[in-house]
Symmetry: C2
Subunit: 202 residues, 2 copies
């Protein structure tokens, strides 16, 4: 029983966020009510500006405030390595490991016939263009270890121009650090033992 | 590692919602990015309009789109009964039971010395005004069964003008419907057995 059409509309808006039901939406809305008018305007403006001003990097399709993103325009990054990922969150995740100094290519999703997403919906052609016109030494296919991720990786693998000299690699799959063996799924464990590697200290 | 000041600002905004951490905020923000510009503007406008257009009912302080809320202005409601609640959500909760046909009075919180909320911060004086100037037959103190709720109820009880003819009642407390006795806290169970009521079928 919502006593106001303004609350109703705001609840509908909040409930459109992923994973937010009407009860949580109402909680957010009543919280907004307790804030100052300037504060709420600032909140609203942050979202509108995000949507209107945020760009896609012309090189790698990562989100960016500029035409070329901070990673692509950084001369300290190794531009002979390109890591292909599904989405912006993957870039953030890999960046936060501090283990990678190359560039990225953000596909914008993965091939999924179930969801009606084909290769044409992803930035695969721009990737092939990059591979053709720049001196790449390594292409890392860092897609999710799922059916769709594997399909997408294989599709890209086949699209790579014949006679390309660069190496194509992918993320190691195996038992996650800190996981208990007995709770690891059998596909992962099976691969991990089949593709076992020489023991190295620490 | 957030690659954009627009994303950063939007994440900060979303993370200011109650119970939303930075990871969830980022999820909301990336979701906003996938929506159309009009859609995001509509979202933002719903919040700003909520904050600027929503009123407080001049009689009961409930949120309302008009000067007098839909409950107070409804001639079908019993205006001789006033139910005092802490906040808008309590009105919605009681309304959704369809068991109450009287009016409300929304205090806007409860007395809490810990949080620095005193009687002057709540709409207690307007309530006393209503009690003095209208023909009230029953005042229901429907506050939360907490220390602060009890304090607030007692404060209001003492503020009621001497010689008032109306009855003062409160919500029944006891074992919640569907609860297991063994898991009910001992204070609730203790009161429930001390204040036991005659058995009634179904």
């Amino acid at each position: 029983v919502i006593p106001s059409k303004y609350i109703e509309e705001a609840v509908n808006a909040m409930a459109s966020l992923p994973g937010v039901g009407r009860k949580t939406a109402l909680r957010y809305v009543l919280h907004m009510l307790s804030r100052s008018e300037e504060d709420v305007e600032h909140f609203a403006k942050a979202l509108v500006q995000l949507r209107t001003h945020l760009k896609r990097c012309k090189v790698c399709q990562n989100v960016s405030d500029f035409d070329i993103c901070a990673i692509c325009s950084n001369p300290q990054r190794d531009n002979s390595t390109i890591c292909v990922v599904e989405d912006v969150r993957d870039v953030m995740a890999i960046e936060s490991t501090h283990q990678y100094k190359g560039l990225y290519h953000v596909l914008g999703g993965r091939i999924s016939p179930m969801e009606g997403i084909g290769p044409g919906d992803l930035s695969i052609s721009p990737l092939i263009g990059r591979l053709t016109h720049t001196a790449v030494k390594e292409l890392i296919l860092a897609l999710s270890p799922t059916m769709e991720g594997d399909t997408t990786a294989f599709y890209i693998y086949r699209k790579v121009p014949a006679g390309s000299a660069f190496e194509i690699t992918t993320l190691t799959r195996g038992v996650a650090v800190g996981d208990e063996l007995q709770y690891t799924d059998e596909v992962t464990l099976g691969r991990s033992i089949a593709l076992r590697t020489p023991y190295q200290k620490g």
